[in-house]
Subunit: 173 residues, 2 copies
DNA sequence: TATTGTTATACTCTATAACTATA
DNA sequence: TATAGTTATAGAGTATAACAATA
């Protein structure tokens, strides 16, 4: 099984270097200094992203949806009638890599490929009824478990400010 | 060549779906709606992280340092005399995966493994003179090209607020 | 000739088990 | 017995080239 493995993936936690020490002789077991590293935006950004994805996977474990799969379902729901190239490209997924992803979602009866009548090369993407139901449940889980926890941690206004700045980086950097 | 390839890696840009369309018949070529996706912190976080790493690689192309390699050099400089397990663990790198990374840095004469006299199982890590010089140049490039551009985009105080919130997520989420 | 979906393939990252040499 | 470094390996994620069907 491929998806359940994913949920176990982010196990290696940082800053645990000083744990498994034999404090027999001289207990020189001091935590390392991060120094300038904690000021590097890229470093902190990556760490935060891993934490957020890790929490997302935990919240979604009952539905077995990864962040990437969730984003595909959201985008197909919002843009019915688009083909694989359009959906994949919008998400920054390369067309060849999108095939296996769709195979997975389609095999679970969450979405379907429909040969376009206008252009018989294209596969139009739609959510199945089950796909719509699962996505609805996923949205609720994300809102009540995942995003809610972020609100608790940062506060509503800070969370919005964070989103604004990240979007600015993603779009203009 | 392994490192130069890395600099070419982040080519797939999102939201370009509507480019290669044949606007002959009905130009129904409309950009897709991101919808709720643009409110998902995980999605925006990931996109921003990719952009920041991409820019980092460009700024560092003359030194051929990846974000991960830069973080190792920074941490070894700040914590001389620590062994591989401690450095790797602090960075969230698994010990087996750290071996090839160190092989690379050592083959480029940027750092060195020294067998510890206290515990002959351990390899103490230190920067070579060349490693110190390269790191100094890397810091300057990061400050003047990379972080400076983030300051231009966000403003100094916003950039600090962003860093604070991301650190909070990385440490407490 | 160009584009859509697809296959094959390769490279990087990340993860686990097991070996060796030391302790 | 346990730990540090290492090897081997496997799985995701991401990248490119090329093919068949269709335009």
């Amino acid at each position: 099984m491929t998806v359940s493995k994913t949920a176990e993936k982010f196990s290696e936690k940082p800053a645990d270097a000083a744990k498994g020490r034999k404090d027999a002789g001289e207990p020189q077991t001091e935590a390392l200094q991060l120094g300038e590293l904690s000021e590097q935006l890229g470093y902190v950004l990556k760490r935060a992203q891993l934490k957020v994805f890790e929490n997302f996977l935990r919240c979604m474990s009952s539905l077995q949806l990864t962040p990437a799969q969730f984003s595909v379902l959201l985008l197909v729901e919002k843009n019915p009638g688009r083909n694989q190239t359009e959906i994949a490209s919008t998400l920054g997924i390369l067309r060849p890599n999108f095939v296996a992803m769709l195979d997975n979602l389609e095999s679970r009866d969450l979405c379907a490929r429909i040969r376009s009548t206008n252009d018989r090369r294209s596969h139009i993407l739609v959510l199945t009824d089950k796909g719509k139901a699962v996505l609805a449940r996923a949205k609720k889980l994300v809102a009540t478990k995942h995003e809610a926890r972020l609100n608790d941690l940062l506060g509503q206004s800070n969370r919005e400010a964070l989103l604004t700045m990240l979007a600015k980086i993603a779009n203009e950097f």
